[in-house]
Assembly symmetry: D2
């Protein structure tokens, strides 16, 4: 969905990823609010990037397992801000929590996502 959701990475380590996404009409519902699925998608994407960052030495890929998003306040314009923090870095699963805020710093959505790094397929 890279051409639709234009994620600008501001910071990316194996325990924290910060990103911004500009709000465009294509991300909105008919009512003019950013579609709820957009927040889930951003969170999946950046938590996967963080997990992949941590697993890179191992040549692993990353798969999502679950995503729990609570919608708190609509975003209608400007910029979606996302801060993902790794809360659990186990051997088989990682759990990330993602705060979605607007330009005024108000909390608009909370996401918890569980991902697991997978061994890359051999040659």
């Amino acid at each position: 969905m890279a051409d639709l959701i234009d994620i600008k990475l501001l910071e990316r380590t194996e325990i924290e990823v910060r990103a911004q996404v500009p709000v465009t009409d294509r991300l909105k519902q008919p009512l003019g609010l950013v579609h709820g699925g957009v927040y889930a998608s951003i969170a999946e994407a950046i938590a996967s990037l963080g997990t992949w960052q941590g697993a890179r030495g191992d040549g692993r890929s990353v798969q999502g397992q679950s995503n729990q998003t609570s919608f708190l306040r609509p975003i209608t314009d400007w910029t979606i801000h996302a801060l993902a923090r790794r809360r659990h870095g186990g051997r088989t699963t990682q759990v990330w929590e993602v705060d979605i805020t607007d330009d005024q710093g108000r909390l608009c959505a909370l996401v918890r996502t569980t991902v697991y790094p997978e061994p890359a397929e051999g040659p």
Copy 2:
């Protein structure tokens, strides 16, 4: 996201919505799997349509409150099938469960979403 996720409605009542979405490259992660956020987005969209269908006489709009998606099996090609069933139709919130399957009928994702109908703004 209507131009990205091309939802074909097959059935739409206030208690059940069935839809299909063709898999395109734009819905995929770099690894070739349909992006997890796509399932969440489809479920949000069709549960909202069902809720709106039920609330139509009231001139209400619909807002999402939470979305919980479990990713069970990747989809890589052809068609995403979604069946949304209303499990709870309360006055203030509705809870829908959505089964996502592939062309072979295999269960690929489970979504539970809570939405609430809102009184439309007055004239």
Copy 3:
């Protein structure tokens, strides 16, 4: 919690578990409703029993990974009915959905729980 939550198993296979729990004062909040944690606890317990049933030949134990409970309608008296169905039976995780109903058959809570069978420790 076996002495607090008195689970009567009615059926138990590796894909379905049905159980009943009598409502007692000890399961209630101060307001007289069954405590939300009780539904989560019942679901965890019976999904684990089903998973263990399926894994029995392997001498495996079972651990919970996540539990998502939606509270739809309070139960105040008589009996809690629980029906757990396995929706996904993967190698590493199982996903169960549990319907909680009251004596009138009304849906009172929905639970989705992810558990994973673990290899038993060797001798």
Copy 4:
């Protein structure tokens, strides 16, 4: 469940509640781990207390709407520590996130719970 889960409140404001629960055999599964439902129950209880604290002037009661618990690391002994923070304090719903830790300060479970304050019934 007050006589089973012995919650000691350490701090209680309308935006933060801290509590401890001693681990007893009655809180454990057959395998010796604290039952997953216990974490969900503690979180429901203390988030409700915080919400009630904030709503007290209004004579409102508090009902749970959903509870999402991720189990990260088992607790087998001593004390369960819980820190609940209000992340969203809307008019109709409140969202709390609860960190469950053990005596070494290791994160053992994450809970997000949505509750809503209800107008008390009139005289």
